[in-house]
């Protein structure tokens, strides 16, 4: 029992024994630097890939003044390491009509391909709409008569109008949060619109779940739900379908399909995500086989709503839209 007593004595205040043990044992065996470096590089690569997919965490911070809901602060969280003020936080993918971009007092017409920097002010007039691809791959869209300031990689101030945010396709752990003056709105893998109308804030959820946390408590708005928060702080809920015509403006500034020679499944996934339709395959079809058919050619001019009529017949398929559902059947 002597050695236990030694350790116990150490525990009772005699630190010398523990230090003596330490000295007697010597240093821990170091890990060879080359092995450490190899594992580090491989694990870091893995982490970067997972972080890109997982960390689509946004915070939209809405500050709606009780007196007048004229300005809403929207914070979009993006995992980047860019310095504010001059760093690019995304790319303007679509610009319809008049889309003005003001940086350091200089205003220019926004055009597709332009880098969007932190601090830029964006304004769309009547008929003007825009879509921005953020650094993390998310899609931020501006409706007409919208004015906002892109504060930095993780925030924007919405002064008027509406923005639509699509966190993209990703695993369940992808996050999107909206922080408002009334509390925090958070969701997982969501498509939603936030709109300022007549001293109120309206949040419409197309996909995923949005949680609105306020002093009065937390409210969850799921797919198809709408929450309107008035200047008096009252929250009223209603419903909306993912393919409701209200989403039409979002579809009008949907970025073009990327790439060529893609599968039918990829095109249908893109089309239904943008149109809000639910995809179903007729039971008579081998969906895996049919979905794997490759569509060749330049697809960048293809609009999401055109896929059923323009693409499916070339693959011996047909699309029927009814009650928010796109049913894919054999072309007869």
């Amino acid at each position: 029992m002597e050695e236990r007593e030694s350790v116990r004595q150490a525990g009772e205040g005699n630190g010398d024994v523990a230090v003596r043990l330490l000295r007697a044992a010597g240093k821990r065996r170091p890990v060879p630097a080359d092995r450490s470096a190899r594992v580090h590089d491989a694990v870091r690569e893995h982490w970067l890939r997972r972080t890109e997919v997982r960390t689509r965490r946004r915070r939209l911070m809405w500050a709606v003044p009780l007196a007048a809901a004229a300005t809403v602060v929207v914070a979009v969280g993006v995992a980047t390491f860019l310095a504010p003020g001059t760093a690019a936080i995304g790319t303007l993918e679509v610009a319809h009509g008049q889309v003005a971009v003001t940086v350091d007092g200089t205003t220019t017409q926004g055009h597709p391909g332009a880098r969007v920097v932190a601090g830029a002010e964006m304004t769309t007039l009547d008929g003007g709409r825009a879509a921005i691809r953020l650094a993390g791959g998310e899609s931020l869209r501006l409706d007409e008569n919208t004015e906002l300031t892109l504060e930095g990689p993780d925030s924007l101030t919405l002064h008027r109008g509406a923005v639509y945010f699509d966190s993209g396709v990703g695993p369940v752990e992808a996050r999107f949060s909206v922080v408002t003056a009334y509390g925090e709105i958070s969701d997982i893998g969501t498509q939603f619109e936030a709109r300022i109308t007549d001293n109120s804030l309206r949040v419409s959820v197309r996909e995923g779940v949005v949680r609105i946390s306020r002093e009065a408590g937390a409210t969850e708005i799921t797919r198809g739900g709408v929450a309107v928060i008035g200047a008096d702080g009252m929250l009223v809920t209603s419903s909306i379908t993912p393919s409701d015509p209200v989403w039409g403006w979002v579809l009008s500034v949907a970025p073009p399909f990327r790439g060529a020679d893609r599968s039918v499944a990829e095109l249908l996934a893109w089309s239904t995500r943008e149109t809000g339709l639910e995809l179903r395959w007729d039971p008579s079809i081998d969906s895996a086989k049919a979905g794997g058919i490759e569509v060749h050619g330049d697809l960048t001019q293809l609009r999401p709503g055109e896929v059923p009529a323009a693409v499916l017949p070339t693959c011996g398929l047909a699309g029927h839209i009814r009650d928010g559902v796109l049913l894919v059947d054999t072309l007869k």
Partner: protein
């Protein structure tokens, strides 16, 4: 300069948000102890150890959001590592190396004393090495920079001032850190000797892979 479970939670949170500094801190803290943990359980096979440690860390990153902080990060990593090692050997129809630290053999007590007094009796060499491993396991189990601070101070003979420079803090803070580190080290040793779970080793009197 404290390091506790809340620090680990913050680190994990930063990693989940894509903070590269957090990833580097995580790797710097976790890799070496994990490697040593695995090396013992792969029978000293460095190639296999490298592979399972890489798999362990990747698996941990995949499930990082599920770590709730009930156990330390290293304990959690070691649990994953055990499964990876078991899976590796199972896929090859082999058994992993057994790692045993037992407190009940009288020889262990003797070995501990011989370690302290420097007795190099060849008959006790194996057990002496086991005790050395136990000391190193205890060091690896310490949170944050405790293990490093103890090695720098008591094995490399660095002064408080020199350690303070390395940690970018004050000598006073280092003194406080070392006091806490010694206490944590003693507790870890006691725990190991008493056979309680530390670093995810099996309960009871021995640690099995």
């Amino acid at each position: 300069m404290t390091w506790d479970r809340s620090d680990e939670r913050r680190l994990v949170g930063r990693m989940l948000r894509g903070d590269e500094d957090a990833f580097e801190a995580f790797f710097a803290d976790a890799f070496s102890p994990l490697y040593r943990f695995a090396l013992k359980r792969t029978g000293g096979d460095a190639e296999v150890t490298e592979e399972v440690v890489q798999r362990t860390l990747c698996a941990a990153i995949d499930h990082l959001a599920s770590w709730r902080g009930e156990a330390s990060l290293l304990t959690w990593l070691c649990a994953i590592c055990r499964r990876e090692i078991a899976g590796y050997f199972r896929s090859r129809g082999r058994e992993p190396a057994r790692v045993e630290l037992t407190e009940e053999l009288p020889e262990v007590r003797a070995a501990l004393e011989t370690l302290l007094i420097g007795d190099r009796d060849p008959e006790r060499e194996t057990l002496r090495r086991e005790i050395v491993d136990l000391v190193h396991v205890a060091l690896d189990s310490l949170p944050g920079r405790y293990g490093l601070a103890l090695e720098w101070k008591y094995l490399e003979g660095e002064s408080m001032k020199e350690i303070a420079i390395r940690f970018a803090t004050t000598p006073k803070a280092v003194e406080s850190l070392l006091s806490r580190a010694r206490a944590a080290f003693r507790d870890a040793l006691r725990t190991l000797l008493e056979g309680e779970a530390a670093l995810g080793t099996a309960g009871g009197t021995h640690g099995g892979a």
